[in-house]
């Protein structure tokens, strides 16, 4: 039982905190918000040089073999700076899907390039009709003479427009044409039949909706052997939720710190806001919820390699609880900043929106309480 950071982990956290504080200024963020790419390739290159893109990739594939704790340390720092680089899409999700499902040849072709910063990935899975149900996929993959033909629509694809390859989930049609197992397909950017509707994402970065119309792919576009890929998707999404939870903690901590400072400086009726008990108690509640969120993110990371039910319960519990805490902390941060909190003139709004995006990503708080109840055998939830 030891929850203290190792020396290496402490160094990682220090370097991430320092890099983020020096690089991701409000000015930088405003520039990135208007950037069609949504992030800076120059900074992405620095991420690679710092070893961050190689962090969770296995040593056999030119990575550093780190785990969920290290990812969490980075993500918390990224949250503090509202980093919009496609780290989650490419490294936490994309590379992990390849590592979980890919053949050795696919891993060798993709993972070292990700580690070096030469390849970006995105994951196209969610569909409108599915809401938050990971198992609900209507997109189809039909077998052709020399490969696959994909048809369907995806929404909320993070960083899709910037990705060199998009990993698309689809039902693999049986011989009789009925839908069968879930598969993952590597679709290179610009493949004919692929239409992206790119948008600026709430809280920073880019997202897109995606249409696939008779997208022809070679046989080796399928990740892995054609067995059902839902368990791998659940594994990777659970870990992504732990990572997002850590990012949310960084965002919430920044909102708390900023609000605390503001209430000390802002004077009304001849005294600082923070002299009022109602304000002090609100801040105490915010601090408590930030701390609870921190515990839950850490717990989800520590359980990232547990057996599936325990892992999923921890991930859903974290997503649900952190989502609830995030909404409280974000809304109170705006409230305590008064009218300034609802303007673009302060940073508060940007952090607020990032937390709003966090809550809905991979399922909101209510969804994950239901999933937690169902995983706990409380059947009718």
């Amino acid at each position: 039982m030891d929850l203290t950071l190792s020396d290496e982990q402490r160094l990682l956290r220090e370097s991430a905190d320092r890099f983020v504080a020096e690089t991701f200024s409000p000015e930088h963020r405003k520039k990135a918000a208007n950037d069609p790419l949504g992030y800076s390739p120059a900074i992405w290159k620095q991420f690679a040089e710092l070893g961050w893109l190689a962090l969770p990739i296995s040593e056999a594939h030119s990575g550093l073999g780190g785990g969920a704790i290290e990812i969490g340390l980075l993500m918390e720092a990224f949250g503090r700076g509202l980093v919009s680089e496609p780290f989650l899409s490419t490294v936490v999700i994309g590379a992990a899907l390849v590592a979980e499902r890919g053949s050795e040849a696919q891993k060798q072709a993709i993972l070292p390039d990700v580690a070096e910063g030469k390849l970006t990935l995105a994951f196209a899975h969610s569909e409108r009709a599915a809401r938050f149900d990971l198992a609900h996929v209507d997109t189809t993959a039909g077998k052709t003479a020399d490969g696959w033909r994909l048809n369907g629509s995806k929404i909320a694809v993070l960083d899709g427009a910037a990705a060199d390859q998009i990993i698309v989930s689809a039902r693999i049609a049986n011989a009789n044409g009925a839908s069968g197992k879930l598969g993952l397909f590597l679709v290179p950017a610009g493949t004919p039949g692929l239409t992206l509707r790119d948008y600026a994402r709430l809280g920073g970065g880019r997202g897109c909706n995606l249409d696939l119309k008779d997208v022809q792919l070679p046989a080796d576009a399928l990740l892995g052997d054609g067995s059902d890929t839902l368990p791998a998707i659940e594994t990777v999404v659970d870990r992504a939720m732990a990572a997002l939870g850590a990012e949310a903690v960084g965002i919430m901590q920044t909102l708390l710190d900023t609000t605390l400072e503001y209430t000390k400086i802002r004077k009304q009726f001849g005294r600082p806001l923070s002299a009022n008990q109602v304000i002090r108690h609100r801040l105490a509640d915010m601090a408590m919820q930030v701390d609870e969120a921190r515990s839950m993110a850490l717990r989800a990371a520590l359980m990232a390699n547990a057996e599936p039910v325990a892992r999923s319960r921890a991930a859903s519990g974290a997503k649900a609880k952190i989502g609830k805490c995030a909404r409280f902390v974000a809304e109170q941060a705006v409230q305590l900043h008064g009218a300034m909190g609802v303007t673009e003139e302060l940073d508060i709004g940007a952090y607020f929106k990032r937390l709003l995006a966090f809550d809905t990503l991979f399922g909101n708080s209510a969804h994950h309480y239901r999933r937690h109840a169902a995983l706990s055998g409380r059947a009718h939830a």
């Binding site: 039982m1 030891d2 929850l3 203290t4 605390l260 105490a284 609870e292 520590l302 009718h380």
Partner: protein
């Protein structure tokens, strides 16, 4: 980082399990499950204290020279978690966990030699004389006065919310010996024999129907000056030390998890018409369980910091607030789980020694009283409002 315990710690866990299996009688277990107040009655609680003492585990937090077992923070965690899982009696904390540490920290060698063994063995049963009718959360405004007369103090005044005063043979009390400039000055820490002439005790029934707390009156009560702990006028410092003594070593999540399990088992049975199939109940159970997960992780973070010799810092002051709120959420869930059986009031106590067949299944009896009594969790030991004041000051630096 990892959540697993070492081989030695696992072996210790087994030792604790074996001890509990050999010492916890079915009567103690049933009595504990059917007790809706905070602490077990003395016959049950002290039977367990004697068993712990026999094993050398009577006072886990005490230094070795006074009879502590010299456990690491991880061992204390394992011990508390196993005790919670097994449903052992809730021993009144006033002796081992409250007055003991103050006597160890500030008492004279004579006081230590006399009182500490009697606390360990359960020979003495203690109550705490802190709150007064006019001094609740503002404890330092207390008015009970001790006036020096030769080798005695003469005490006049009253204490309230005195848990188990009707069982206790000793009280540790904060009394005013001087009027200082600040109200915290001039308070002394005194040990009082409850059999001293002039002490009367009035029971106070809680809304759950339990007699756990009392009001105690002092009418010219003579207490030897030798019964003062430490210096005259420094009682506030000792009292605060006592409140902080348990900080960081309190382990509440295991007990809360067990309380939720009890409610879940009821919901998952025909006794409640399978309340668990109500989606609202099922989801609230998950909400509470996740809150306990967060609390447990916070407690483990504190434990880990203690274990590696670091100061856990401010995080531990957040714990009291969450523990009390989660306890209330669990007890509220219980009321909703048992539904209309909650209408039946059973005034007799204790539930484990009724002379008649109760109107509702026995295991449902404590549910509503636990909820009702549990409203006090956010009030005693510094109300939630006081805790938020402390967090604002100590954690946020406001």
């Amino acid at each position: 980082m990892d959540l697993t315990f070492s081989a030695e710690e696992r072996a210790f866990e087994q030792e604790v399990r074996d001890f509990i299996a050999g010492s916890l009688t079915p009567e103690m277990k049933r009595a504990t499950a059917l007790t809706p107040s905070v602490f077990s009655d003395p016959d049950i609680g002290m039977a367990w204290q004697r068993a712990l003492h026999k094993k050398g585990w009577g006072a886990p937090g005490w230094p070795v020279e006074h009879g502590g077992p010299d456990w690491t923070p991880a061992q204390r965690w394992i011990f508390e978690a196993e005790c919670a899982r097994a449903g052992v009696p809730n021993v009144n904390v006033m002796g081992v966990k409250m007055v003991g540490p103050v006597i160890i920290g500030f008492g004279s060698p004579e006081q230590q030699n006399f009182y500490l063994p009697r606390i360990l063995s359960g020979e003495d049963y203690w109550c705490q004389g802190y709150s007064e009718p006019g001094s609740g959360s503002d404890l330092a405004s207390l008015k009970t006065r001790a006036v020096r007369d030769g080798d005695d103090y003469v005490i006049n005044g009253t204490k309230i919310w005195t848990t188990h005063a009707h069982h206790a043979n000793r009280m540790f009390a904060l009394v005013r010996t001087n009027d200082g400039e600040r109200q915290q000055d001039g308070i002394s820490f005194i040990l009082i024999d409850m059999k001293t002439p002039g002490i009367t005790t009035r029971p106070i029934l809680t809304i759950g129907g339990d007699h756990e707390v009392n009001q105690v009156f002092f009418d010219d009560v003579r207490v030897p000056v030798a019964n003062r702990v430490g210096e005259e006028g420094k009682g506030w410092t000792y009292g605060k030390y006592l409140l902080e003594f348990e900080r960081g070593s309190g382990i509440a999540s295991a007990k809360l998890r067990e309380a939720l399990k009890t409610i879940t088992d009821l919901a998952d049975s025909e006794v409640t018409g399978r309340a668990i199939e109500d989606p609202d109940i099922a989801i609230r159970m998950s909400e509470v369980e996740v809150d306990i997960d967060a609390l447990e992780m916070t407690e483990l973070r504190v434990l880990s910091a203690l274990q590696t010799g670091q100061n856990p810092g401010a995080v531990s002051s957040l714990i009291k607030l969450r523990v009390s709120e989660i306890r209330q959420a669990v007890t509220r869930l219980g009321v909703d789980v048992i539904g209309q059986d909650g209408l039946a009031v059973e005034p007799a106590r204790p539930f484990y020694r009724l002379n008649h067949e109760p109107a509702i299944p026995e295991e449902l009896l404590p549910v509503v009283p636990e909820y009702l009594n549990g409203r006090a969790y956010t009030i005693f030991g510094g109300s939630s409002e006081i805790q938020r004041d402390i967090i604002a000051k100590m954690v946020l630096g406001l």
